[in-house]
């Protein structure tokens, strides 16, 4: 069977599974809709968190980015995993004990202020919308490449699927669909990785093959790759080219941003107990680590394969995948010196081959000559990754509107069943807006993702940490901290990422920190302002101080939930 038939079968089957789960797990109350009734087993929550977290970017783009960045790719690998240590140790258990539904809930109650709650809602909406636009686009792209459907129709199909299970099932539907999506995406990522690891290094475990010797020789894969890079004028694969301080700050901003993202935090509200929240963060990281330790291996394999296949070879002798991907525009060859041979080198003047980094994962099975069903599996995996993240984000958006704004601020007397309808309605609106951005992607999507992490790092993370670990922190300190952290990060991004006040170059960066890493500084500003302002204003009321005492130990978490 050809690739396309296989893709229809596999993608069709996975979609049938998602819809089946949606029908089985309809939400009956707002508690079902917001936190899946608070009854998700920790192992399932770990898988759901992993699928929620790993987006189209993790699945499709990350290995490709590492492939081209070499050592520097580590900022994503460490940044997007290390945050889970912070979540498990500093946030998840206490927020679970607090036992409400959303991050703005915690900020609003802990800082006894609707202003604080509103600041949190605005941040949550902003972060989630920027993210979800990218996911819907990812769905469209996968459809168009593998099924030859128009990108826009791909987005409509994705909207329809997410609509069914997010609107019907809320968090409950999303959670169990995400469990299925995790299984599909990890299988789809690992199968080609294992095949290629065996081909290249004769070791079925990619993490080991990565450090092994090339099959049939005594040369280590990484030495070979460094040698190839040197020949072609690239920096050695295992050395970085980014400044040390920037690597440090970007990694930190991504870690802290991860720990501050509302759609990740909310997952820890769904488990029955505080101890479940701790362990499910551990499970989540195990499930994430399977992909995140394989991705750098895939990156190195793909890079080696690619260079060996194309470098100084005749254009006419290229395998069929080469022309297939040329058609998509993701690969382009210009024979500058008219010798019919591909010169792929670091020097832009003489380089003849331009490669889109997304190819590294999407075309990997074809480059390695794997069977057609594996290629189809990668399409289903990419869709699973994009849909699961989109659904998690849409839920945060609808909850922010129905719970944090309408229930908590405008209509406190709303009945549970009416609130549930409002939640569903906001989910519908959110799906439509996300679809709109998927079809008309703002040109700055990639830049905006950096902004989302920076803002989460500079706003939520310090406010939550101080709320738990510093009893004396009051509303004045927290609000001033969030606004100044947010403000300075936003300002820096506008100046250096969007060039709003004239063109800038990396030489202009403050302390040599790139906009991607600036969230770290925003976070420090937030902490500093919070401390100073709170020390000159009055201590929080007694009942808030008692609440802080209460969230610090696990007993009684179940009751807190049933208020």
């Amino acid at each position: 069977m050809d690739v396309q038939t296989w893709t229809y079968i596999i993608v069709g089957a996975t979609f049938a599974i998602y819809i089946g789960i949606a029908i089985w797990s309809r939400a009956g109350s707002t508690k079902d809709f917001y936190v899946a009734g608070g009854g998700v087993p920790p192992l399932a929550n770990g898988m759901a968190t992993a699928a929620d977290w790993m987006s189209a970017a993790s699945f499709i783009s990350m290995a490709g980015i590492i492939s081209f960045a070499g050592y520097d790719g580590a900022v994503y690998l460490m940044g997007w995993t290390g945050g889970y240590v912070l979540l498990a140790l500093l946030l998840a258990p206490y927020l679970r004990k607090f036992g409400k539904f959303t991050v703005p809930d915690f900020i609003g109650d802990r800082y006894y202020s609707n202003t604080a709650r509103t600041v949190a809602v605005v941040c949550a909406l902003f972060v989630s919308f920027t993210y979800v636009a990218g996911q819907m686009r990812g769905v469209g792209v996968v459809f168009s490449r593998f099924l030859e459907v128009d990108i826009n129709n791909g987005v409509y199909i994705g909207m329809f699927i997410v609509f069914i299970y997010a609107v019907l099932g809320g968090m409950k539907g999303i959670t169990y669909t995400q469990v299925a999506q995790y299984v599909i995406l990890i299988f789809a990522f690992m199968v080609p990785a294992i095949f290629i690891s065996i081909q290249l290094t004769n070791n079925p475990i990619p993490q080991l093959g990565f450090g092994g010797t090339i099959d049939g020789t005594e040369t280590y894969l990484l030495d070979k790759l460094n040698g190839l890079h040197e020949e072609l004028g690239f920096a050695a694969y295992t050395d970085g080219s980014k400044a040390l301080i920037d690597v440090f700050f970007i990694t930190f901003a991504l870690m802290v941003g991860t720990a501050g993202l509302p759609h990740v935090i909310v997952r820890f509200f769904t488990v029955p107990k505080v101890s479940d929240a701790r362990i499910s963060a551990g499970y989540a990281l195990v499930f994430i680590a399977i992909l995140y330790t394989t991705a750098p291996a895939v990156a190195a394999f793909a890079r080696t394969n690619l260079i060996q296949t194309v470098s100084n070879e005749e254009y006419a002798s290229m395998p069929s995948w080469f022309s297939n991907w040329e058609k998509t525009g993701l690969l382009s060859f210009t024979d500058k010196n008219n010798d019919g041979v591909i010169q792929y080198v670091a020097d832009a003047e003489t380089n003849e081959l331009v490669i889109d980094r997304d190819i590294m994962v999407l075309a990997n099975p074809e480059i390695a000559n794997l069977p057609n069903w594996v290629v189809a599996l990668v399409a289903a995996g990419g869709l699973a990754a994009a849909l699961s993240t989109a659904a998690g984000l849409l839920l945060v958006i609808s909850t922010s509107v129905s719970h944090d704004l309408i229930k908590k601020q405008f209509a406190p007397d709303i009945s549970d069943s009416n609130e549930l309808w409002v939640a569903r309605g906001s989910a519908v609106v959110a799906v439509v807006i996300a679809g709109y951005f998927g079809i008309n992607p703002p040109g700055f999507v990639a830049a905006v993702v950096a902004l989302a992490f920076g803002l989460a790092a500079a706003s939520f993370f310090p406010a939550i940490i101080l709320g738990i670990f510093y009893q004396r922190m009051n509303k004045e300190g927290a609000i001033a901290g969030m606004i100044s952290g947010l403000g300075v990060t936003l300002l820096y991004m506008l100046i250096f990422k969007f060039n709003l006040f004239g063109e800038t170059t990396p030489a202009d960066w403050w302390f040599g920190v790139s906009p991607e890493g600036f969230g770290t500084i925003g976070m420090l500003v937030n902490f500093a302002v919070s401390f100073v302002v709170s020390s000159v204003t009055k201590a929080p009321p007694q009942d808030v101080q008692e609440m802080v005492d209460n969230i610090r130990f696990p007993r009684g978490a179940g009751e807190a939930h049933n208020h």
């Binding site: 590492i66 050592y71 790719g73 580590a74 690998l77 460490m78 995993t81 290390g82 889970y84 240590v85 498990a88 140790l89 500093l90 258990p93 993490q207 990565f210 450090g211 092994g212 010797t213 280590y220 894969l221 990484l222 030495d223 295992t238 050395d239 970085g240 040390l244 690597v247 440090f248 990694t251 930190f252 107990k273 505080v274 101890s275 701790r278 362990i279 963060a281 551990g282 990281l285 195990v286 680590a289 995140y292 330790t293 750098p296 005492d549 610090r552 130990f553 696990p554 007993r555 009684g556 978490a557 179940g558």
Partner: protein
Amino acid sequence: MNKEKMKAYWQRNLLYLVVLLIIWFLVSYGAGILFADALNSIKIGGFPLGFWFAQQGSIYVFVILIFVYVSLMNKLDKKFDVDEK
């Protein structure tokens, strides 16, 4: 729970956090970034050690840290009788 006992429980929790987060910092920012160049002169199989920490090792250590914390805290909760029934 009385104040004294609560304080002892919290102090112990903070001690665990500080120790585990120091390790968290050392493997990622230390071995993976600040000292990566120096460690790269040591090789484990085909991996320069600093590169390995940055792209593999730190992630394994992160996983271990969470499970160590979970088991320490479950014991601590029982000892201070604040675990969930």
